[in-house]
């Protein structure tokens, strides 16, 4: 079954809708325009040397 890849606009719309945010069309257009660059930067975080099995820099202390 063939699927059509979602557009950047659809990808941006989804989390905004999910979180109940209602930017203007202009504001959404700017987010969509920046989205490919942003995703490319995110992708580099998954391919850094040594990151594959590293622990995240977050800690949890069960004592309150």
């Amino acid at each position: 079954m063939s699927q059509t890849a979602p557009t950047d606009r659809q990808i941006v719309d989804a989390p905004l809708t999910l979180h109940g945010i209602t930017p203007s069309e202009d504001e959404i257009a700017k987010l969509v325009e920046a989205y490919p660059t942003t995703r490319a930067a995110v992708a580099t975080l998954y391919t850094m040397e040594g990151v594959r099995y590293e622990e995240p820099a977050v800690t949890f202390d069960p004592r309150v």
């Binding site: 905004l16 945010i21 504001e27 920046a34 942003t38 995110v42 040397e49 990151v51 590293e54 820099a57």
Partner: protein
């Protein structure tokens, strides 16, 4: 090489060296009976009366309470009672940090009741040391927005040129110290918000190690990245303030119980045996770098060597990835904090602020965790570099303060962030000191950035003080030509 007192400055806008007041000098003069706290406060008020409105320095000024506190400070001195290191000194507080005198606006129409909780722990510490709170200083909205003339708040300018931004987000903290409207200020830093305005305004700013200074009573931006630190004219003044700011507090679970030295005791002026790694970051700034930057940076490094430091070339590992991780983590954490207000008060936020916060909703939970994993990789990589060197020197920014016209062109475009060399260190959590190191051809300050190992602020401040014993860039006092700007 000895750095000189000459250099390009904006004609008619800088007072001669010697006009600058430092905390250390004022404290000594107070104790010697050569001045009074009331006189220092009145002098600071006079500067603020003249420059606050055109430069966009304060959100609120506490004239009456400051003068009353100064009178009490003078009475205490006259009585011979023991006094603290900041006794009678006029200080300013970035308006995302709470004080008892008035509300904390976070420079926003979005009223956040959690931002006004009486004195934050850091303000309590400054007061306990005798500091006098002069007012709340301008910022970017919630420490993340951009200059926004559409909102009823100051548009912060660098006092070196009123056509240029003060930097953010500790904007008023930078401009107030540069002008002399306060002698020291508190700033906060999540991606460079102490160091960028320190650089653009020509003052000194310290971002401490993450966890060194309690953040309770400060509106959060990025929970795992936020720092509060001192901004002042000199590294010595930052050390005086840091002596009372550093140390854990139970109210902030991210603070760490690591022994706190007396930072002012570390200021020996000597850098013999200190190894400094140098990275100009020219590969990042590229053609965006100001032509005066590299010569100024090289002269600054020479001055450090003249004080005894050994200088070697290094390259910051994972620069691009860790700088971006700072951005991703900051926006994700900020979006979580602001989401309820974004849903119900969207129009009350400034357009630049809400656009940036909305960007934070576009990252997935996996992306956030991955950024925190990248952060750990980065910590280990930079720790390896610190096996070879004790400090790392880079420029703070690639340029002087950007013009407002330039900012409008940039918007939140990536090019602007290529000129800011600060976010990397928020990701790793290391302490960093920014220091004036010269001027651009059109008279805007340039800045040196020194980064140390975690909790080694004493060495950072020692190096900064040693550098400033050879230079006087930090003593230049801008005096904007108000008529021309108007």
């Amino acid at each position: 090489m000895t750095a000189t007192t000459t250099g390009p400055t904006m004609e008619g806008t800088a007072e001669a060296v010697g006009a600058a007041r430092t905390i250390a000098d004022s404290a000594a003069a107070l104790r010697a009976g050569e001045t009074t706290s009331v006189a220092l406060v009145r002098e600071a008020l006079a500067v603020a009366d003249k420059y606050d409105a055109p430069v966009g320095v304060f959100i609120d000024r506490y004239r009456d309470s400051a003068l009353a506190a100064a009178e009490m400070a003078d009475a205490a001195l006259a009585s011979g009672a023991p006094v603290g290191p900041l006794h009678g000194i006029p200080l300013g507080i970035k308006d995302i940090i709470s004080t008892t005198e008035g509300p904390t606006t976070c420079q926003s129409l979005v009223h956040d009741p959690a931002a006004s909780v009486g004195d934050a722990v850091v303000v309590q510490r400054l007061r306990a040391a005798g500091g006098i709170v002069m007012g709340k200083l301008s910022t970017c909205e919630f420490a993340i927005g951009a200059p926004d003339a559409s909102k009823p708040f100051p548009v912060p300018k660098t006092p070196w040129s009123l056509d240029h931004w003060a930097g953010g987000s500790s904007s008023g903290s930078g401009s107030s110290v540069a002008l002399g409207a306060v002698q020291g200020a508190l700033g906060t830093d999540t991606g460079g918000s102490i160091r960028m305005p320190a650089a653009y305004c020509g003052i000194t700013g310290l971002m401490p190690t993450f966890g060194r200074v309690p953040k309770s009573g400060c509106a959060p931006l990025g929970y795992s990245l936020d720092h509060i630190g001192p901004m002042a004219r000199t590294a010595r003044d930052c050390a005086v303030m840091f002596d009372v700011l550093a140390g854990p507090d139970a109210s902030d679970p991210t603070t760490l119980d690591v022994p706190v030295p007396v930072y002012t005791d570390a200021l020996t002026g000597d850098l013999a045996g200190v190894r400094i790694g140098v990275d100009s970051l020219a590969r990042i700034g590229g053609d965006l770098q100001d032509p005066a930057l590299l010569p100024a940076f090289e002269a600054a490094v020479e001055a450090l060597a003249e004080r005894g430091a050994q200088v070697v070339e290094v390259e910051l590992p994972f620069y691009e990835e860790l700088s971006f991780a700072d951005w991703l983590i900051m926006l994700s954490e900020a979006a979580a904090y602001h989401l309820p207000d974004l849903q119900t008060k969207w129009e009350l936020y400034g357009a630049p602020t809400r656009a940036t916060l909305a960007n934070g909703l576009l990252y997935s939970a996996a992306d956030y965790v991955q950024a925190q994993r990248a952060r750990r990789v980065g910590q280990k990589a930079i720790a390896k570099v610190y096996e070879q060197v004790d400090l790392i020197a880079t420029p703070t920014c690639a340029t002087g303060a950007p013009s407002f016209a330039h900012l409008d062109e940039f918007g939140v475009a990536a090019d602007f962030f290529r000129t800011i060399y600060t976010g990397y260190w928020d990701t790793t959590g290391n302490p960093v000191l920014s220091l004036p190191m010269g001027f651009t051809g059109n008279g805007l300050p340039l800045s040196l950035q020194l980064a140390g190992r975690p909790f080694e602020e004493a060495l950072l401040l020692r190096a900064g003080d040693a550098y400033q014993q050879l230079t006087d860039w930090h003593l230049r006092v801008p005096r904007p030509a108000l008529e021309a700007s108007a």
